[in-house]
Assembly symmetry: C2
Homo-oligomer: 190 residues x 2
């Protein structure tokens, strides 16, 4: 998506060879007009899947998911992160390892809001190693719902997540795929 | 706001005398069509304040704030919660005590995204004891921005937060104010 790539080039900050800060428009301050263009693009990519619900994860996926949901006319559910591993019979749970924080947390979604009649679109802001998306897909699987696809704003194409998810047969669409950011220079996969 | 009150009566679950679960439409599963009606109402209440940015707090304020922002044509910033008290010279910080979790956490907003030219609307899903809103107002104050108002979806009118914030002179508008929920029965302040 050209608009998003241009915005990343203009306002993204590369730190070292693998950190991209986009907190001026994507995941701290949020440009809701840009999110609307992203939402339209996700709808174009996934409209034929007859999505019934969008699933995301707190916190930075929520804004993008809510704006996108307006084009699908479906509700959004966000998975909650917790450090507790207590069993919770009312929720679908999965374990996600965060490389950023160096620890594993549990994500949970109430069983009330996903069921076998649903076709789910997972939306998130970033895809790097794929752990969060895999955790969300695992929750969808437990619920018996169909996974319609995975929509990502920014994929770090030089990390393994995208390959891993696509090899599992998931329909992953990323609006911008970064192929490299060595020496502070960003390049995208066309 | 009649639509929200009716929805709370229909789908809210009262537990004991002071817990209201609205996770089927407000803060776990999110009804984005309802959020749009709430966003229009916030805009009606605060349009004359010439709001330049909306400030909220992760996680459950983000969806409502992003949808509302479309009516104001402004960006949204969400304050991040952290347990670390490390000084961070690039961020405005405040301490918030959570009664739900029984602990104090630090909230932070990058100094890049708030300044003295801004007029801020704080938006959040719940107002009970007011600690989160006070923390956000404290961050606005540090930045030199003007606080245009505080928009809340559901206020627990039988707790102190609303009184506290209004006594400080803040322009607080809540879309639904619950006056009591004793014995499982909800009543609203007109």
């Amino acid at each position: 998506m050209e608009l998003l790539k241009q915005r990343i080039l203009k306002d993204g900050r590369v730190i070292g060879n693998d950190i991209l800060k986009v907190d001026s428009f994507l995941n701290h301050q949020m440009d809701v007009a840009l999110f609307n263009e992203m939402g339209k693009e996700f709808h174009k990519q996934f409209a034929h899947k007859n999505i019934t619900k969008i699933l995301t994860i707190e916190a930075s996926g929520i804004g993008i998911a809510c704006i996108a949901a307006q084009y699908f006319n479906v509700p959004v559910i966000f998975a909650k992160k917790t450090e507790s591993r207590n069993l919770d019979s009312d929720a679908y749970l999965s374990e996600v390892f965060s490389f950023t924080k160096g620890k594993t947390y549990t994500i949970r979604v109430s069983k009330n809001y996903l069921n076998s009649e649903d076709t789910i679109l997972i939306i998130d802001d970033f895809l790097a190693n794929g752990k969060a998306a895999l955790g969300l897909a695992h929750i969808v699987e437990q619920s018996g719902a169909k996974l319609g696809g995975i929509g990502i704003a920014v994929e770090k194409g030089f990390q393994d997540g995208g390959k891993l998810l696509r090899e599992k047969g998931f329909d992953v669409k990323s609006l911008a795929i970064i192929s490299s950011m060595e020496n502070g220079r960003l390049s995208f996969t066309e």
